[in-house]
Subunit: 299 residues, 2 copies
């Protein structure tokens, strides 16, 4: 896929998910308006939409049309955004800036930010339960819910954030750091690929195994690249405070193994992720392109 | 059902849900241990278990055995406990005492309390997705997930809490107060009855309509009784700070319509709730007993 073709496709899908999210979010003029406004504030109009892109790309790789996984794309993004809102709270990372604008609790207040996150998580599961366009098989729908719940919970994203908080100011071994990353970011990236893949493949389909391997490697590569960018990027481009992790004395790949070794690790994981897709034809080109973008992005 | 029989049955079911919750909660010695410990701290060993009792009682009313709805009972209690943990945070109600012991953020810390709540919500949906004992029909399972997600979200519990926060220090009209209560507490009470009922009834079953009416009235009665107890109970018996609502200048039924009228309203709702069950025989005796207990309890 050429870069310009990739640009056009990403653009179209990013617009698509924006509309899907807009439709699922409660209107700001419905009671309680301030809560709904705050949910919409953090979800709409920003973000790279990496997880929805992975959902759509994995669906395409298994031959499913995007409308079959609109609900999955929305659900993973809502879980991601809720985690950002909570992670930014004063009791957690205490960040003022996110996606280039004030964080939710700065724009609203802490109580509203906590509740907005809570309500977004519930909305994610609500969508998976009711979206009429998801695959007809109720068993597939339940499998999607299982994957998302596991990725979001204490053995996934929430657990990863807890490990992260506990590790701040301490030094981690490489396996500990990897475990933290695999849970904190990897779990939801992984879930995005698997949920999208269920758009066109049923449980037991051999393609799911290959996509599972792709998802694991690209998820870890994503987080290492994030660590690298926190070290080398600038605040304006990142849309959040550059060097924030270092300032908080958080364990990162560059801090533990150095910048060069971190970059090599990203390359290695990227290669391995692409190899996992070797039995796929052009139907996985979009997924390959999202993988490329994840490791080559500069913000 | 005699009072002693009621006591024996409640006791057995409260022990049952304690064991069910214990089995679903991640062990405290699994990483991240502090997070898991904090989840277990708030969930286990306390609480009246009103919502699980309603689940089991509604299941019995539709002829289902308790193991069919163990997962539902656990899920509603986990959502309830997560909401207590978040509501108690300094940015929300700022409570130090809950169920007779320090609140989660006092016993651990704010970040852990936020994450514990988040992870408990995810666990609730995880259980509904994977518990092998739930009704075999995948459609019924999805209906349970839909009901819980709707009850937990911005149109249910989280929305009710947002309305509550926005109303603190303001005076509400009776309809506004009712809407707040119906969402904040009523939605999950309602969900508990409906999810339990799905243990033995499929969508479209006429009994669900009657249980729906019972659930609405008993849910509102529950919250008004809570308001009354906050006004008249003592801290030791309540296990939380008595008069806390008044101190925070929160709108309550006694504040808006007075204590006597509040008690009459509870009676009225209780009578109506029991009428909704008039077509049921002894299979609904447990549900009637839970209804009685909800309005007659002193803590």
């Amino acid at each position: 896929m050429s870069l310009s073709e990739q640009h056009v496709r990403f653009d179209a899908l990013q617009q698509r998910i924006e509309e899907v999210l807009d439709q699922w979010l409660p209107p700001a003029d419905h009671n309680p308006g301030r809560l709904h406004e705050s949910m919409r504030y953090s979800v709409l109009g920003g973000g790279k939409r990496v997880r929805p892109l992975l959902v759509y790309a994995a669906a395409e790789a298994t031959g499913a049309r995007p409308e079959r996984v609109d609900g999955c794309a929305a659900a993973v993004e809502l879980v991601h955004v809720y985690s950002l809102i909570h992670d930014d709270l004063p009791a957690m990372d205490d960040d003022d800036l996110r996606r280039g604008k004030p964080t939710n609790h700065k724009a609203f207040d802490e109580a509203t930010a906590i509740l907005a996150g809570d309500a977004l998580q519930a909305l994610a599961f609500h969508i998976l339960a009711v979206d009429p366009q998801l695959p007809e098989s109720a068993a597939t729908r339940i499998e999607m819910i299982r994957i998302l719940a596991e990725a979001a919970g204490s053995r996934g994203m929430a657990g990863g954030q807890a490990i992260d908080l506990a590790a701040t100011g301490r030094s981690l071994t490489l396996p500990e750091l990897e475990e933290m990353h695999v849970r904190k970011t990897g779990a939801l990236i992984h879930a995005s690929v698997l949920m999208g893949a269920l758009g066109g493949a049923e449980r037991g389909d051999a393609r799911l195994q290959a996509l599972h391997r792709f998802a694991h490697d690209i998820g870890l590569a994503f987080q290492i690249q994030d660590d690298i960018l926190d070290e080398t990027g600038d605040t304006e481009q990142l849309g959040k405070q550059a060097g924030a992790d270092r300032a908080l004395n958080k364990p990162t790949y560059p801090a533990v193994i150095g910048l060069d070794a971190s970059r090599e690790e990203v390359e290695l994981l990227h290669d391995r992720a692409l190899q996992a897709l070797e039995d796929f034809g052009p139907e996985a080109d979009l997924l390959r392109a999202v993988g490329d973008w994840i490791v080559q992005r500069t913000h």
